[in-house]
């Protein structure tokens, strides 16, 4: 019997009115009820334009990724249907796939070059959630979905659950929500956990990669709790100096290729500038986030060995 493929909705596109409504609600809440300014016009405009660019780029280039998945589907081990429990199982496996992708995105400069866009705002509000890359397809990370296809999940289902995952991640980009009930914080990714992920405080760098379920970080040792005594400071270790969407979209690609093309480097060093963790330098023994954490511990030895920080 042939598999009948349901007509899955494009959830992230359908959610656009909700995105707009919730951003306005957060804006109103911060301004009128808390009397703080969590938004800035140019920053918000840039985030929204990056979001639009991401949708356009997805419409133009998404077929490449989908084509590869569809091709791989011919080699599947099983044929899995679309019953609700398969959708749930697919969602959970895909969430693990997202964790792996996200961890690679922070530890391999080739992928960081596209993901850095999402971290480039010094603000943290719902509009930050929409600040997305235009060059995701070019990193080739869609191949991480191939194992799901080979198991037998249909590409349409994989795209659908991926959309639900992104939809979930929208609401966690806010400072208006403190901590959720303890059981929820234990299982699910929350605003508190994700604030840690967006922070540049040494203990928070390279932590909380989860999409929907925080259990992956707890399982793989990358979970760090948000501390009241170390409130997150958002942005990048080296913040960008522009609101121009084109420069925001391509700045890390430009920096990366400039670094790799520096005169006098060996082929190995050039390759490492492309694929080593962000901040790697050929003339430093320890660089990037490891250097930042080690330096913090050297200055604050009482913090050594605490979550997110190395021992002495």
């Amino acid at each position: 019997m042939d598999l009948v493929i349901p007509n899955f909705p494009a959830v992230t596109q359908l959610a656009i009115p909700a995105f707009v409504g919730l951003i306005l609600l957060e804006l109103f809440y911060l301004r009128k009820l808390r009397n703080v300014e969590g938004f800035e016009t140019r920053d918000t405009a840039t985030s929204l334009l990056m979001g639009v660019g991401n949708v356009v780029s997805g419409l133009i280039f998404g077929f490449v990724a989908y084509g590869v998945l569809t091709w791989a589907y011919d080699f599947r081990l099983f044929t899995i249907g679309f019953e609700w429990y398969w959708v749930l199982i697919c969602f959970i496996i895909d969430d693990l796939r997202y964790y792996i992708y996200h961890r690679i995105a922070h530890r391999c400069r080739w992928v960081w070059a596209e993901h850095v866009i999402h971290h480039s705002s010094q603000h943290y509000n719902l509009s930050t959630a929409l600040r997305q890359s235009w060059t995701g397809v070019f990193t080739g990370m869609f191949v991480l979905r191939i194992p799901l296809v080979l198991i037998g999940f249909h590409p349409a289902l994989i795209v659908f659950v991926g959309g639900i995952n992104l939809l979930y991640q929208f609401w966690i980009h806010t400072e208006t929500i403190g901590k959720m009930p303890r059981w929820f914080e234990y299982i699910m990714n929350t605003p508190s956990h994700h604030r840690v992920h967006h922070a540049t405080n040494p203990r928070y760098i390279d932590a909380n990669y989860a999409g929907t379920l925080i259990i992956w970080d707890r399982m793989f040792g990358t979970f760090v709790e948000e501390l009241e005594e170390d409130m997150p400071k958002y942005g990048l270790v080296k913040n960008i100096g522009t609101f121009n969407p084109l420069r925001v979209a391509f700045h890390e690609w430009v920096d990366m290729f400039r670094d790799a093309a520096k005169p006098g480097l060996t082929l190995g060093q050039r390759t490492r500038y492309l694929f080593s963790p962000p901040g790697w330098r050929h003339d430093q023994e320890v660089s990037g986030s490891e250097a930042i954490k080690a330096d913090f511990v050297r200055r604050n030895p009482q913090e050594a060995g605490k979550p997110g920080l190395p021992g002495i």
Binding site: Q13, V20, L24, E37, T41, D255
Partner: protein
């Protein structure tokens, strides 16, 4: 979703958000820098830098920090309501120009190619310039 729904939704929704953000925040500038706040901001990103001197530009929108004679130079620079920091060394600075309003720095940075530091006081401007060129 059909494009005839998606496109108008984006064309209406996004400008609406931007206009309302502008209307509610009036795009106030960042807090002007003072020696202490400039130091604090710079040390957040470069905690091992030993600051000997801070020079705040006119209106307090940017600051140069120096680690001493012939030492390192750092920058705290307004970007929207926030500030960013840069270590200014021979690899970063392409050109330094004195203008009537202050100093223009041309730097090797894709997101911030030119940095204008207003120093209307000639003596302060010259001193900053000397520090930059010596550093």
């Amino acid at each position: 979703m059909p494009l005839y729904i998606l496109v108008p939704m984006i064309l209406v929704g996004l400008p609406l958000v931007i206009v309302l953000v502008y209307w509610t925040t009036r795009d106030r500038k960042s807090e002007p820098l003072y020696a202490e706040t400039a130091k604090e901001r710079f040390l957040r990103d470069f905690p091992n830098f030993r600051i000997k001197e801070v020079m705040i530009s006119d209106h307090g929108n940017s600051a140069l920090v120096f680690s001493g004679q012939g030492g390192e130079t750092g920058l705290v620079y307004e970007i929207g309501k926030n500030h960013l920091t840069r270590l200014l060394d021979e690899h970063t600075i392409i050109k330094v120009e004195e203008t009537k309003a202050g100093i223009d720095l041309y730097v090797n940075d894709f997101t911030l190619k030119k940095i204008s530091l207003p120093f209307s006081d000639v003596e302060t401007r010259r001193r900053a310039l000397n520090q930059l060129l010596l550093g």
